[in-house]
Symmetry: C2
Subunit: 186 residues, 2 copies
């Protein structure tokens, strides 16, 4: 064990983070209790405090998130929306973090601020080269309205017609919308 730097504490730390992500994603910030998270991770609630200090810091650690946005400069201009939509759906489905962040951001100011950063600091730069730089922030905001709205309806509210869409249908509907927000005039 001295060879690999993996200590005993690293595993519990990871277990807590995993359980926290699941609970925050399923229940939102206030209903996800430290006791429940600790139970899921099969440890004592006091350990959570030892490792993360308090609930807010635990959430901050659990909701750290990188959109891992691809380079869009190689994509044909009219397909840029479809590419982004596909990437968003991927990113949404292989990780509980985004759902946790969305659910919490509605009632928790720290989470809301992180959401704002996500679209300003990660999406902004990637789309900056697609149109007039002065409009980048607005375009990022518009993309956020459609991307978060779709995620809200599909993964959180589970509106039946939205949850029932196949990946292809979703991309076919949202792609052109996103493309227009990214490259349309005005």
């Amino acid at each position: 064990m001295t060879e690999t730097g993996e200590r005993r504490s690293d595993r519990t730390r990871a277990a807590i983070l995993g359980a926290a992500r699941e609970r925050f994603a399923a229940d939102g910030y206030e209903r996800a209790t430290i006791r429940a998270i600790a139970a899921d991770a099969a440890i004592d609630p006091a350990m959570v405090m030892r490792y993360f200090g308090n609930k807010e810091k635990l959430f901050a650690a659990a909701a750290e998130f990188d959109l891992r946005l691809p380079d869009l400069s190689a994509v044909p201009r009219e397909q840029v929306g479809a590419a982004l939509t596909n990437h968003f759906l991927d990113r949404w489905e292989d990780d509980e973090s985004l759902k946790a962040l969305l659910r919490a951001s509605v009632t928790n100011e720290v989470a809301a601020e992180r959401m704002r950063q996500l679209f300003a600091e990660q999406l902004g730069p990637v789309i900056g080269s697609l149109a007039d730089p002065a409009s980048t922030a607005t375009r990022a905001g518009l993309v956020a309205t459609q991307a978060l709205g779709f995620a809200l309806c599909r993964y959180v509210l589970a509106l039946p017609p939205v949850a029932a869409l196949t990946r292809e249908e979703a991309v076919a509907w949202l792609g052109p919308t996103i493309t227009r927000y990214l490259t349309g005039e005005l």
Copy 2:
């Protein structure tokens, strides 16, 4: 007072409902406490229970909502999205109920169910005549993704670029999207 049927209790009941709407809209379901709502309405917390039974029923009463959707059959086909967008923005801004419903629906199942009903039972019928009836539910769902997403970003998360849009800009961007979701092919 015997003339008008307005009893003393009607005013307190209305005061409670008003305070409840504000608190639920500002804080979400779990953080809006009965004690705080009672304090806002300048009454005793026990009165809230007398009038509404329990917190869930209070919320149900506070989040009763009618979108009051206009008849769209008279509107030119290409402007139907702009008309709906304008109506949504109006409806959103002259009432705290929708914000309360959105904030709560993310963590409260009763609220989420009411949200689903809103778009299925109120939006569905109004847009049914615009396209193939078999696609009505899907179209209503798509409109929901954009409408709720915009409201989420503008009124709840307060994303700066989205909150900064003027009414005209918002309608110019969202209108065509909504129109396509209502009347576009596929």
